[in-house]
Symmetry: C2
Subunit: 145 residues, 2 copies
DNA sequence: ACATATTTGCAACATAATTGCAATAACATG
DNA sequence: CATGTTATTGCAATTATGTTGCAAATATGT
């Protein structure tokens, strides 16, 4: 689907970023996966073509612009997923639940599942919520049966 | 309150750990704070007396025994807090909400706030929940006013 | 006081992240 | 489509963070 390419180019231009190989490649990889992608994985896949430092900077730029969002797994490793529409440099709207599968270690963005707002003690002002559920994902549950 | 000392000693013995200086010091520091304590902070405070490696191992042992639990903040930095009763080597019961203050960067264990269970898509089996709220804590809200 | 097993500190190593800078590539402009 | 400007990249060096093996020191039961 080469349609993606122009779509990604637009996304970059819209955010004032130049259309470079490294950036397009990151967007392609992330969009081609059904779950969040870890930095180590990206490094492994792109490592021969793109410098590690460049990858750091691309991901940082994307996150700042609201193109992708970062999810830390239980080991503190960064995973990235493309933001659904509605994010920009000023605001991230990624307040959906993330699901970290114990079996296949994929991290799913459950876009449809909003984080239930907890009742915090008075005085505390919640600005942002981050919920990671761990367990067994749908695909792994199927495999076992 | 020197009562703490014997309390901590009991805690160590109960878990088959020897009563050493490093361990007692960690317990004292953690129990003397109203929020979770970051590893870098512990290292800074204890660094002159206790080796960095020892600190890692003490924290790891405590976590395995269910004496403390680890909370990763938004930067992936480890923070530790003493578990409320009911945790042991086999089971952690720390499914309360954590609150990460944007202003003072303290991480509070809101022991009284259980994590609301989200409705995940069918096929997904949730085993554990981890919710970190960020915002402004009670103490910082007061300061501003 | 002594024997034993645990714990610690040290040194070395391994991994991950950051910075400065020069070379390169993107792209607006003429 | 050549060219100047600015953003981007790669490299090397540095810093930070986490891990391992082992010998010395320490806690604790007897």
């Amino acid at each position: 689907m080469d349609n993606n390419i122009t779509r990604f180019e637009e996304l970059l231009v819209k955010n004032g970023l130049k259309r470079t190989g490294a950036r397009l490649q990151v967007l392609e990889i992330l969009s081609g996966r059904d779950s969040a992608t870890s930095q180590p994985y990206l490094e492994q896949v792109m490592g021969k073509v793109v410098d590690r430092v460049t990858l750091y900077r691309v991901l940082q730029a994307f996150e700042e612009k609201g193109i992708i969002h970062k999810v830390l797994d239980s080991h503190g490793t960064a995973n990235y997923a493309i933001c659904s529409d509605g994010c920009d440099a000023h605001q991230h709207h990624d307040e959906h639940v993330h699901f970290d599968c114990d079996n296949c270690h994929k991290i799913y963005c459950l876009e449809s599942v909003k984080i239930p707002v907890p009742k915090v003690p008075s005085g505390f002002k919640v600005q942002h919520l981050n919920l990671i559920a761990t367990g067994i994902c749908s695909a792994c549950t199927d495999k076992v049966n």
